[in-house]
């Protein structure tokens, strides 16, 4: 049973994100950032779960997360991403995108850069200026892509004042989330249930591909790409349904899994164990989906890489059983068979769980009940 630490922080948490650990290091996650919403003064804060406490008998670390520093943020924090080790990008409900810089020596946060009118309904030039909330951000150093309720996609580059490129009216409805697909491509989800793929090498303002369900147009709220297999994408919808898509094939999702009873706010593949998926929802629960198959010789992390999998997909028919774990278990999922194990991680349902993030064996999530939950033993 995992141990979960809860701490009540007197602000409703809208986003929680782990600080990325430097690649190649053996450190586990130690610091995370949170953003709050719906208060008169919202804050972006940094917390640490470092070794404040003593080692207890099983070698685990005691003690809750402690606040390191925080900084005021105008408007609700709609999305938060770590740009690199020291910089955090925050999307605001006032339509601005801000880059905060963390100074580790005196433990403070400061504003590094800001694009104030990144999203708007009627532009800053006109007399009836009205801003639109920015709903999603994704970063890949040095680029930042943002989407908002105005249906606009912005491509920013850190340290450049103006946007590199803007696609106005990319969508007639609200864009809820964005993620990188293959390198020059991004994928967005919107409130009429469509996934759109945009290729920014192309000059036009049209998406290169549109995928959607044929049934009801349920708005999609979150999206995440499989860490190793870039064609596998998971989305969460307003009715709590989890869909897995293969963007190479067709316009329909590969599988639809009935999950939560209310909007699913975030979905994440585990970055190093992609057979594990995590979702959190408005109904107050956080689920851990485990699709790892019980093959006796479990292949190592190395073999799940991109290179070997394409080679083996040709020979799938001959060697289906032995190398099953190498093909994404999400695509070959038949929900009727007992292959996915689902566990609920939070002890009791309270208000909505707005956000979650996983890194290594650590998970952090934030709720509307003004609490942050951290566990350091996800796979025990």
């Amino acid at each position: 049973m995992e141990e979960i630490y809860a701490k009540f922080v007197s602000q409703k948490i809208s986003k929680t994100r782990w600080r990325p650990v430097p690649s190649g290091s053996l450190q586990t996650a130690e610091t995370f950032a949170t953003g709050s919403w719906d208060n008169e003064e919202n804050y972006v804060s940094l917390w640490s779960i470092g070794d404040f406490g003593n080692l207890d008998s099983d070698g685990g670390f005691e003690g809750d997360h402690q606040l390191l520093c925080d900084i005021r943020h105008h408007g609700d924090v709609m999305d938060l991403q770590f740009f690199d080790q020291e910089r955090i990008v925050a999307a605001s409900s006032t339509g601005s995108v801000t880059v905060f810089l963390h100074h580790p020596n005196n433990q403070t946060l400061s504003v590094n850069q800001q694009w104030t009118a990144a999203h708007y309904h009627t532009g800053p030039g006109s007399p009836s200026y009205s801003s639109a909330p920015c709903t999603g951000i994704v970063c890949s150093n040095p680029e930042i892509v943002t989407v908002g309720e105005d249906g606009r996609i912005n491509f920013f580059r850190a340290d450049h004042k103006e946007a590199l490129r803007t696609i106005d009216n990319a969508d007639s409805s609200t864009l809820h989330a964005v993620t990188f697909l293959r390198t020059p491509e991004i994928l967005t989800v919107n409130s009429i249930g469509q996934l759109k793929i945009w290729d920014f090498r192309q000059q036009g303002n049209e998406p290169s591909q549109i995928l959607s369900l044929t049934g009801d147009r349920v708005p999609l709220h979150c999206v995440d790409r499989h860490p190793n297999q870039q064609h596998v994408v998971a989305t969460g919808g307003q009715d709590g349904m989890l869909s897995i898509w293969d963007v190479r094939q067709g316009t329909m999702p590969v599988s639809l899994l009935k999950a939560h009873e209310a909007e699913m706010w975030e979905v994440h593949f585990h970055p190093s164990n992609p057979d594990h998926l995590f979702t959190c929802s408005e109904d107050g629960s956080l689920w851990h989906w485990d699709a790892s198959t019980d093959v006796p010789e479990k292949s190592s992390l190395f073999h799940q890489g991109g290179r070997t999998s394409t080679f083996l997909s040709h020979s799938i028919s001959n060697q289906a059983n032995v190398h099953q774990s190498l093909i994404s278990s999400w695509l070959s999922t038949d929900p009727a068979k007992d292959r996915i194990e689902i566990t609920s991680l939070l002890p009791n349902k309270t208000l909505s769980v707005n956000s979650l993030d996983v890194l290594g064996p650590c998970l952090v999530c934030g709720t509307d009940a003004e609490a942050i939950y951290v566990t350091r033993q996800l796979f025990s």
Partner: protein, 543 residues
């Protein structure tokens, strides 16, 4: 609370003062709550009542523990300056075992008074108290206590403790001598402590109903008649008189928000202690207070989500109040709107869902986000609004000659069925697509069905007929004779309706000119098509 204490000490005076006042309010609240628990909920009978009250005092007057730690920690406890204060406090709180231990230290340090200390210690040890597991009856206890009391009195009379004034003082306290107790005003610090100590040493088997006599007299004696009507005193007095309504009333007056009163009333109501006190407003007092509290929460920018649960627990007026409040929450982002809608949907408040979605859809239309507007009207299942959105699209088409937001219209799916206008829009777009793919026969039949099935708005018929023109002019015959007759009928319907315009407006003349040209062209095309169709159908290959 301890954190607040520390911060209050550490921070600057201004912040510290505010925190101090908050701390004092919180401690007062805890005091009242505990007392209510003892008197109303546990309903302690005589005998154990005093024990509960002793616990109550020990919990809330906490200088004793820190002083104890201080003194014990010092090298020579009995020489500590506060030693006698400590022992007195221990006796005042009825912690006689610890007092005895202190006395034994004094005995060790000071052999001259060792004998007296031991004697006093014995008296302390033999004081009869009601222990929880004990099966003695109250009368037995009373008898024993009376006996013990007389022994103490005897010692005092004999002057056993004359040599050591502090010990004599302690003895007097243990006898319940009011004068001696009043001398210790500083250590007692408030009248309810005085009350409990007095009861402990003069009437340990006090009955609940007699409590308020003692309370009143203790208050008067302690304050010396100079007590102003302090809120805390009023509340405690009301509690000692077992007047629940008065307690609630006083608390409501004294405290600045409804939090404490609402929860206390709720607790008491669950213990069935409140008779249904019908207020002219709605139902009973508990519900009234909870409604007030929840309404206050709704006014807060972020605590409205908590208020929902409070409204849910009010059976009579909760739902109605929730309906009224939830429509008025300011919605600045879609995410907040979604949460509010989820709350409404879970409680089947369809009216509220519809009205909130309508507001959001209007906002979206004003911002030209037609896709968002459509998705809100789908959520609310609002056909009227969907019609409005489709009209907007069609107007855009008429103005610009091409569709905006093709991604939306092309992928409407089953949402098309929501409103006729929307279905028309979807089908019309399909017609364009089919025409673009050069499947003229399909396009033709689609166009005809659009006109005959009455889902096309009248204003759009001219456009549809104009769209039919290129199909009529094609080399091959696309419309059959039947279909051509249908088209002609539609045209006649359209032209016969048009009223004769009498205004000599130049613009109007031009429009009319264009209109009549169009109509003429159509009539010509239709006639020609009819001719060709009849010929084709009449000839041998016509099939």
């Amino acid at each position: 609370m301890e954190e607040m204490h520390q911060i209050a000490i550490a921070k600057d005076p201004a912040g510290g003062r505010q925190l101090n006042s908050q701390i004092s309010i919180l401690s007062a609240i805890e005091l009242i709550w505990n007392l209510c628990e003892i008197l109303f909920i546990e309903v302690a009978p005589a005998g154990s009542l005093l024990l509960h009250l002793l616990d109550w005092i020990r919990l809330h007057v906490c200088e004793a523990d820190s002083l104890l730690a201080d003194v014990l920690g010092s090298e020579n406890p009995s020489k500590h300056e506060s030693f006698w204060n400590l022992v007195t406090i221990l006796v005042l709180q009825g912690r006689l075992d610890e007092a005895r231990q202190m006395l034994s230290k004094e005995a060790d340090a000071n052999p001259a008074s060792a004998g007296m200390c031991r004697l006093l210690g014995d008296l302390m040890r033999t004081m009869p108290i009601l222990s929880p597991g004990n099966t003695q009856t109250l009368t037995e206890l009373e008898l024993k206590w009376q006996h013990w009391h007389e022994e103490c009195e005897r010692h005092l009379q004999d002057g056993t403790f004359i040599a050591n004034p502090q010990l004599e003082c302690l003895c007097k306290i243990m006898l319940g001598d009011e004068a001696a107790l009043l001398e210790q005003k500083e250590l007692l610090s408030n009248w309810y402590h005085f009350l409990v100590t007095r009861l402990l040493y003069s009437n340990p088997t006090v009955k609940p109903i007699d409590l308020h006599y003692y309370a009143q007299s203790s208050l008067d004696l302690f304050m010396g008649g100079e007590s102003g009507p302090e809120p805390l005193n009023n509340i405690l007095m009301a509690a000692f008189e077992f007047d629940i309504h008065q307690v609630i009333k006083e608390c409501s007056i004294a405290l600045s928000n409804w939090w404490f009163v609402a929860h206390l009333t709720d607790l008491l109501d669950h213990c069935r202690l409140l008779q249904s006190h019908n207020l002219y407003f709605g139902s009973n007092m508990r519900e009234f207070l909870l409604l007030e509290y929840a309404s206050g929460l709704f006014a807060h920018h972020s605590m409205w989500q908590l208020a929902v649960d409070y409204f849910d627990s009010c059976p009579e007026l909760g739902r109605v109040s929730l309906e009224l409040h939830i429509e008025r929450i300011p919605l600045n982002t879609e995410q907040k709107a979604l949460k509010v809608l989820r709350i409404c949907e879970q409680r089947q408040m369809t009216e509220q869902v519809r009205s909130i979605c309508k507001i959001l859809a209007m906002k979206a239309v004003r911002n030209n986000r037609l896709g968002s507007a459509l998705s809100w009207s789908i959520r609310a299942k609002d056909a009227a609004f969907a019609t409005l959105v489709s009209d907007r699209f069609l107007m855009d088409y008429c103005d610009r000659g091409c569709f905006s937001d093709l991604d939306l219209i092309d992928n409407l799916g089953p949402a098309m069925m929501l409103s006729d206008r929307l279905t028309f829009l979807g089908k019309y777009r399909e017609f364009h697509r089919v025409y673009g793919e050069k499947r003229f026969a399909d396009a033709a039949s689609l166009l005809l069905s659009l006109m005959t099935s009455q889902i096309a708005p009248r204003s759009f018929w001219m456009t549809l007929l104009t769209d039919a023109l290129p199909l009529l002019e094609q080399k091959q015959v696309i419309f059959s004779a039947e279909q051509t007759y249908e088209l002609m009928r539609c045209l006649e319907d359209l032209t016969s309706e048009r009223p004769v315009r009498g205004e000599p407006d130049a613009q109007l003349f031009q429009d009319d000119d264009i209109e009549t040209t169009k109509v003429e062209m159509l009539r010509l095309a239709l006639a020609r098509n009819l001719a060709r169709a009849i010929i084709r159908e009449g000839s041998l290959e016509g099939s």
